[in-house]
């Protein structure tokens, strides 16, 4: 059983746990709110809709000015939900697309994620979970507008039709804006018929994003841009080591610096509250803080990996057991063993963490780019000493999320409420890049030891994976729900526990060391490392069997049509069999994650010890899709995200201290390093899958396998260093 040792940052009060369980019990109960159609009057007042607007349900408001505003319950962090979800609603509404806009939903149970039972964005789930919800909302609104027009014309509603924001009957027509006040008095229908996909006008079209214009003129408001009258800004001196506690501080210099209002100890460290950020930051840097360094002062990632290697020599908790991997290994004609290692990684959103809080005696308003509205509100309420209903959280644009803004502890929100308690004025806490990178909640480091064997004909007969790495779920309020009684963390082994290859004997085992480095979901979570190990090892088995890595995979995926579909598509589009220039090589990878199938072929060259990725051909099967333009953007972006990690990124600790601080020591791929990327989408009638994350996992193994094709050397550790190739 998992019993994580928790440092202060990770400790969870009973109250937070209870708050979470309330929502998650609803989640496991099955019904999950999903969908409310509150009466117009009630909702309109709750939403403070304009008096002449028509708000048939929580998700849409139609103004007499013809504007159709879609209220989006997921956070826009680049993945396109402010476009794809409005498309779903506008499709069924038959809205005029040029009149459609978006608005971020307030925190309210009616905006809970239909599958997860709380308001949040993550798991590449916004579109598939919103598919029915948003289409239904549009269809209901349309039916009410038709009913209003039919009443006005005194005709049967069934004789009316709709088109581009108007209801038509014979030669008569009325616009939605004109009908809005009358439609607001119509009783919402209990059942509506959704469109036949063959008649879609918006869905499946590469419609341009609605939020692009305001992202090109500086108008888009991110959390860091929030301005309130009388607002102060704070910077926090944070512990240099995880779990370190502030012993005392000397603020004699800081307090006398210009603009500084207050210096206060908060659980996160020592906060300097000033008129402007630069004043706060400068004074923060002038503080002298003495820390009790705690138990992590000797923490060293090199030693940690050594410990991981030792652990991998012993059996772990069994995750999957098909046949008898041990005996099959013993009797295999040829065997191979490989140990893959990946480091801690920072999410490194371009917008560093920040949060603005206006705390009043009986209310609290929070502005931030959150992926976890329900939890953030509950955690803020606890610190504010208010009921959650008294706290409103305004979700701004997120300057990247990648999982970091979905923090089980609401770390960046909670600390801002503490600072607001001391500030006596609205206050914005801004993290410097260094604060952000050093603040923890990383993708956990992992070691993945695999042993495999082939028989005399080159067929893979055995596979044993042993993974060593921290659990993300253990110790969070999610543990009870997400672990579902399992003694391992599914997020640690996802992507290998469902190994798709037809190998008769498979064992997957998990070791979960307890380390006081806070870890969290990082775009594609466990898949970010399991795909690297699995897809590199299957390549190694292909070599062992003297087979082409693409054909070797095909043979083992005969019964996996969707894996095969993307694999074949990527290989075909990449011209797998066509020769490349000397010094170049191709690598291939295929992976299933978040309900979608992805494959990539990477073309790389290696010169003077440097790997350059020239081209990546990606194939994606996310089932029925909504916006192919956004799918391509997410797949391209995922490839760059994965390639950045594969080529450049690593967080290391020495004497408990993080060695990386900013982009110069934790690099992100730049435009001159970025390959040409092509994305090909599989046409499918299957259930919709996710798209925000599935593009990430294949990048690293495709690149690493391509490096092998060029150099004949295997990459078993990320980031790729040719000096470590074997």
């Amino acid at each position: 059983m998992i019993s994580p040792k928790m440092n202060d940052r990770q400790s969870i009060s009973g109250m937070q746990r209870r708050d979470f369980l309330k929502v998650s019990v609803a989640a496991s109960g099955g019904l999950l709110i999903g969908f409310h159609f509150p009466r117009v009057g009630k909702l309109a007042s709750a939403q403070q809709a304009s008096a002449d607007g028509f708000m048939p349900n929580a998700f849409v408001r139609i103004g007499t000015d013809e504007r159709v505003t879609v209220i989006v319950n997921h956070s826009e962090m680049g993945q396109g939900v402010y476009t794809s979800l409005p498309m779903l609603l506008a499709e069924e509404l038959d809205a005029e697309w040029s009149k459609v806009g978006y608005e971020s939903a307030p925190v309210d149970p009616k905006y809970n994620h239909p599958a997860f039972g709380m308001q949040m964005t993550g798991g590449s789930s916004s579109v598939w979970s919103g598919l029915e919800q948003f289409r239904q909302a549009g269809a209901v609104a349309r039916a009410m507008l038709i009913a209003a027009a039919a009443q006005q014309w005194n005709v049967d509603a069934s004789t009316c039709r709709t088109e581009s924001g108007t209801v038509l009957n014979g030669s008569r027509k009325l616009t939605y804006g004109h009908l809005a006040p009358a439609a607001a008095k119509v009783t919402p229908p209990e059942h509506v018929q959704l469109k036949d996909p063959k008649t879609f006008k918006l869905i499946r079209k590469p419609i341009r994003r609605l939020d692009t214009p305001e992202k090109l003129n500086g108008k888009a408001e991110f959390g860091i841009d929030v301005k309130l009258p009388g607002m102060l800004t704070a910077a926090i001196a944070r512990p240099p080591i995880f779990g370190a506690k502030m012993k005392n501080f000397d603020d004699s210099r800081a307090r006398s610096m210009p603009g500084v209002r207050k210096v206060v100890a908060v659980p996160a460290g020592v906060a300097v509250i000033a008129d402007t950020f630069w004043q706060a930051k400068t004074a923060r840097d002038a503080l002298r803080v003495e820390w009790d360094e705690g138990s992590m002062q000797d923490f060293d990632t090199g030693k940690m990996m050594q410990d991981f290697r030792e652990r991998a020599k012993t059996p772990g908790i069994s995750v999957r057991k098909d046949g008898d991997a041990e005996s099959a290994l013993a009797s295999a004609v040829k065997k191979i063993e490989a140990v893959y290692e990946v480091p801690y990684l920072s999410h490194l959103m371009m917008e560093p963490l920040n949060c603005t809080v206006d705390l009043r005696p009986d209310s609290c308003e929070v502005w931030t780019g959150s992926q976890f509205q329900t939890i953030d509100r509950a955690n803020a309420a606890k610190i504010a000493g208010l009921a959650p209903e008294k706290v409103q959280l305004h979700t701004t644009f997120l300057g990247g999320g990648f999982g970091r803004r979905a923090n089980p502890q609401s770390d960046f929100v909670v600390e801002a409420v503490y600072v607001a308690r001391a500030a006596g004025a609205p206050v914005k806490v801004i993290w410097t890049r260094e604060d952000d990178m050093g603040g923890g909640w990383y993708r956990p480091a992992f070691l993945h030891a695999i042993e495999g064997g082939v028989d005399a004909s080159g067929n893979a007969v055995s596979w044993r994976s042993r993974l060593v790495g921290q659990s993300i779920m253990a110790g969070t309020p999610f543990a009870a729900v997400m672990l579902k009684g399992k003694d391992y963390d599914p997020a640690s082994v996802e992507g290998v526990d469902d190994l798709p290859y037809a190998i008769p004997n498979v064992a997957v085992e998990s070791h979960q060391p307890e380390i006081n480095v806070p870890v969290q979901w990082w775009r594609s979570v466990g898949h970010s490392h399991t795909a690297f190990a699995v897809e590199c090892f299957i390549d190694e088995l292909a070599t062992l069997a003297h087979k082409d890595p693409y054909q070797f995979r095909r043979a083992l995926l005969e019964k996996q049509p969707r894996h095969l579909g993307v694999l074949n598509l990527a290989a075909e589009k990449a011209g797998w069999d066509k020769p490349l220039q000397k010094g170049m090589g191709r690598g291939i990878a295929v992976h299933f994650a978040f309900g979608s199938y992805a494959a990539s072929v990477a073309e790389v060259s290696v010169t003077e010890g440097k790997v350059r990725v020239h081209r990546m051909v990606c194939a994606i099967d996310c089932g029925q899709y909504v916006n192919p333009g956004i799918i391509k953007a997410q797949t391209e972006g995922g490839a760059v995200f994965g390639a950045s990690a594969a080529l450049f990124q690593e967080l290391t600790f020495e004497s408990g201290r993080l060695q990386q601080t900013n982009f110069h020591t934790f690099p992100v791929m730049r435009i001159n390093e970025c390959p040409d990327i092509e994305t090909h989408i599989v046409e499918s009638t299957e259930k919709s899958g996710g798209i925000g994350e599935p593009g990430v996992p294949c990048a690293a193994p495709a690149i690493a396998n391509a490096v092998f094709a060029v150099t004949g050397k295997r990459i078993r550790r990320l980031p790729i260093r040719l000096t470590e190739a074997v």
Binding site: E76, M77, G78, Q79, G80, R208, R209, D211, T212, P213, K215, L216, N217, G218, K219, A220, F222, I224, D225, K227, T233, P258, T276, F277, W278, Q279, L348, M349, M350, E351, P352, F397, L398, G399, G400, G401, I430, T432, R433, G629, A633, Q634, E636, G637, G638, A639, V640, F641, S644, N662, F663, H664, V668, M669, R670, I671, N672, C674, D676, I677
Partner: protein
């Protein structure tokens, strides 16, 4: 008092002269389109123009702007009519959008200097601007497209 112009308007500010221009633009002038990303000229999110040249405002003390003309993303065009903004719209470039002000400001200088930038020109001019969402392929296409648009407009 430090005086300079921002997007064509004269400003005189009583501010610590060592304050980075970025924070003066954001906090004193309220122009929040220019972003903070790294504070050490590594990411380019804070790129503005000083007398027409791209500058990382996070490491540029405001004193250095004295008497000069500063242009921020808000001043690139009044109505998204700059060829780069139009091309960015057509290529649907932004994802999260946070880095895009800086991307556009760097690209604007490139496009002024090179009527028909090559891929190598783009690499050189845009390497200082990081996009964590990975919009680079679209940025590249959009710069080429903007150059075509500008050429066509020039020909008319």
């Amino acid at each position: 008092m430090i005086g300079f112009s921002v997007n064509g308007k004269r400003v005189d500010l009583d501010v610590d002269p060592s304050t980075p221009l970025l924070w003066v633009i954001r906090e004193h002038l309220g122009l929040t389109g220019t972003k903070y990303g790294c504070g050490m000229a590594q990411c380019g999110a804070c790129t503005v123009h000083i007398d027409g040249e791209a500058v990382r405002s996070c490491v540029a003390p405001v004193l250095g702007a004295t008497g000069k003309a500063v242009t921020t993303i808000e001043g690139l065009s009044p109505d998204l009519s700059h060829p780069l903004q139009r091309a960015w719209l057509e290529e649907d470039v932004p994802q999260c959008g946070y880095c895009q002000s800086g991307q556009l400001m760097s690209a604007a200088v490139l496009l002024r200097d090179k009527l028909k930038p090559t891929d190598e020109d783009i690499d050189e001019a845009m390497t200082g601007n990081i996009c964590r969402c990975g919009t680079y392929p679209r940025i590249r296409r959009a710069i080429h497209r903007a150059a075509e648009m500008a050429a066509k407009a020039g020909a008319r």
